[in-house]
């Protein structure tokens, strides 16, 4: 035992000799002595047991009982330490707590002052808190995949919420500059760990969202579950859900999943991956623009081609029509010509045949042949045929045409008419 502890009993040596009057202690003295004994003789230690009656007092201090089958200890966790607890333990949960024994002098009961409280595994309490909040958010639908919003294809302004001096921010800026340097980045630096980190992160999300960005990246590099805890706190979940533009969460490493990740519209494995998801690839965009330019050109020449084709067709139809039209005429003309000459020929042939007939008939009718048979034709001086008695005037001269010449004659007397 340390010398100092011996002092507790040192008073005896200063008592006067003789039958010593018994030393009478006050209750306070006893409790103080026992308290010192407890506090100074027993080292800080880990204790395990089941928790009962966990009670978080208005003051922020937490009181509970730790027990096993046959014994129990009253425990207290003061506000400062209790504030680091991600959540309250469930009744009956097996805990291990680290701290020291003391005596609560006012009651004379001893208690264990807890500085650290863990579930069976070191991360147990964090996991418990995570699952609790997650269940609540699930119930509210905040983690529903149907709620996820699509990221803008080409954001003009990107908000970034992270520690302003972090490697995470440097990674985000490097990726964004490489892929999409035309994007404007608005950074809101925030504390990302320690008590109150959740509220700071939430406030930072609200702040950048209010500045009119197209998308928000919430990021932090890797760390222990405790380091990342701020991103598992309810205010962050609420701020992400309420953010008017999509939120991409890039917290920790690939294996870390935070509440922020679950509520965000997109979970990226790392801060760099978050930036990749947000910043469009400028080279791909350049290729797309080139392709669009070609399509535009093709579409226009398609328009020209369609018109040329229509023009060609129209011309074809026009000329075709004209050709058909003229060829009909030409045919009719040719036909007409052929018909005409045929008709003419026919007529000519018919005429010449008639002519021959007529010639033959005329031959037959020729007066010369009659004259040759001994007839004579009387003609007046003018050569007119004298047909009847009325044509003969007495004393008028006339001639008789006979077969081989003319015979001068004179009407000797009045002609007589035979009835």
């Amino acid at each position: 035992m340390k010398a100092r502890n011996l002092d507790l009993f040192a008073d005896r040596s200063t008592e006067p000799a003789g039958p010593p009057a018994p030393k009478v202690w006050t209750v306070s003295q006893v409790n103080r002595a026992v308290r010192r004994l407890l506090e100074e003789t027993l080292p800080q230690l880990w204790v395990t047991g089941e928790v009962a009656n966990f009670n978080r007092h208005r003051s922020g201090h937490c009181y509970f009982t730790l027990k096993d089958r046959s014994a129990q200890i009253r425990c207290v966790m003061f506000r400062r330490e209790a504030a680091t607890l991600p959540t309250d333990p469930d009744e009956g949960m097996t805990l291990r707590v680290f701290g020291g024994l003391t005596l609560y002098e006012a009651r004379g009961s001893y208690q264990f002052v807890v500085s650290r409280l863990e579930a069976e595994s070191a991360d147990g309490m964090w996991k418990l808190a995570f699952e609790r909040l997650r269940r609540r958010l699930d119930t509210e639908g905040l983690t529903d995949p149907a709620r996820k919003r699509r990221l803008p294809d080409f954001p003009r302004r990107v908000g970034v919420v992270t520690s302003a001096t972090s490697a995470a921010l440097r990674d985000i800026l490097a990726v964004t500059e490489r892929r999409a340097p035309w994007v404007r980045v608005l950074v809101r630096g925030t504390g990302v760990q320690g008590p109150g980190a959740g509220r700071q992160i939430a406030a930072a999300i609200d702040t950048v969202a209010a500045r009119g960005v197209d998308v928000v990246i919430v990021a932090r590099g890797g760390g222990s579950i405790e380091d990342l805890w701020g991103f598992n706190e309810e205010p962050v979940a609420r701020a992400v859900a309420a953010c008017p533009v999509p939120v991409v969460s890039g917290v920790g490493h690939e294996t870390d999943v935070t509440i922020c990740d679950l509520v965000a519209d997109l979970r990226a494995a790392t801060p760099s991956a978050a930036a990749e998801a947000v910043a469009p690839d400028g080279r791909a965009l350049g290729r797309r623009l080139a392709a669009l330019g070609q399509r535009l050109g093709r579409a226009l020449s398609g328009q020209a081609r369609a018109r040329r084709w229509r023009l060609d067709r129209a011309r074809e139809r026009l000329f075709g029509g004209a050709r058909r039209l003229t060829s009909a005429y030409r045919q009719r003309l040719q036909g007409g010509r052929a018909g005409m000459s045929q008709a003419m020929q026919g007529r000519i042939q018919r005429r010449s045949a008639r002519l021959k007939e007529a010639a033959a008939a005329m031959e037959a009718l020729s007066p010369l042949s009659t004259l040759a048979r001994g007839y004579a034709v009387p003609l007046d001086v003018n050569g007119r045929l004298l047909r009847g008695v009325g044509d003969f005037v007495p004393a008028e001269r006339f001639r008789l045409r006979v077969v081989d010449g003319n015979v001068p004659c004179e009407v000797a007397d009045r002609p007589t008419r035979e009835s």
Partner: protein, 84 residues
């Protein structure tokens, strides 16, 4: 479309123009005007892509009410370690 229209709106419009030009219900004047518009959008989009320097601003102040050009912290800053 305004001069600073976003890339997404430009791309959408260009695609719309291509679709229109692929249809055969356009007048020639209309087709030419659309083509010119599309080429303009492509040119503007290319101008945007041609930028090389990232512009970063930082919101400072209690409520983030001030904006300043972001100055990256020097390497070896103590906070880097804890932020992994």
């Amino acid at each position: 479309m305004e001069a600073d229209a976003g890339l997404d709106r430009r791309l959408e419009r260009i695609e719309e123009i291509v679709r229109l030009l692929d249809s055969d219900s356009l007048g020639l004047d209309e087709a030419l005007a659309l083509f010119e518009e599309g080429v303009g959008h492509i040119r503007r989009a290319r101008e945007v892509l041609a930028r090389t320097e990232l512009r970063v601003e930082e919101l400072i102040g209690e409520e983030g009410e001030e904006v300043r050009e972001f100055e990256p912290a020097g390497d070896g800053d103590g906070d880097d370690a804890e932020d992994g």
